[in-house]
């Protein structure tokens, strides 16, 4: 039962590699931000699947913390690009 997790992990890793094209060459700021957001989402799933492949379920805690950090990064970058500053006086 480790084979399906292995196949899904390889598929997700190759989609991360393809998404990095849009993160590097994407025209403008927002395309790069959305590509980074997608890569963060796929990294959460990849952490969970890798935790099942090497049979070490502590990776799920790391995935939970990574989800929180990726969400905060997206919100902060969106606010900064929209208003031009982080703290308004």
């Amino acid at each position: 039962m480790i084979i399906p997790f292995l196949v899904v992990g390889i598929i997700i890793a190759s989609t991360i590699l393809v998404c990095s094209y849009r993160a590097i060459y994407g025209p403008g700021t927002f395309n790069r931000i959305v590509a980074a957001n997608v890569i963060g989402t796929k990294a959460i799933v990849l952490l969970i699947v890798v935790g099942y492949i090497i049979e070490r379920p502590q990776f799920i805690d790391i995935a939970l913390m990574y989800a929180v950090i990726a969400f905060m990064g997206t919100i902060i970058i969106a606010k900064y690009v929209e208003r031009g500053e982080l703290c308004s006086r």
């Binding site: 899904v8 403008g28 959305v34 989800a67």
Partner: protein, 104 residues
Amino acid sequence: MLAIDVVATMFLAAGAFFMITGTIGLLKFPDFYTRMHATGKCDTLGQILIIVGCMIYEGFTLITIKLLMVSAFYLLAGPAGGHALMKAAYVTGLPVWKKGDKRM
């Protein structure tokens, strides 16, 4: 035991299919807004399907509760982040693609 493995594998395959679909949309669509349309839904659904497959494979333990926490948090956080990003792009005046325009 075998039936549980088959159902979990089907959920994992559906999640991988949605992941590939979102990636193709991110690469092939002509505009920022349409790319957000592709990735916002496909990534949320794909992640939740893969996590549900892992939960079915696991059974009922503490790890299942943790996976449910990850899934529920992303179900709240993903669309909220996408909405914030879309609003930032619309307020700063990013142009909208119309039919016949060049890809941007």
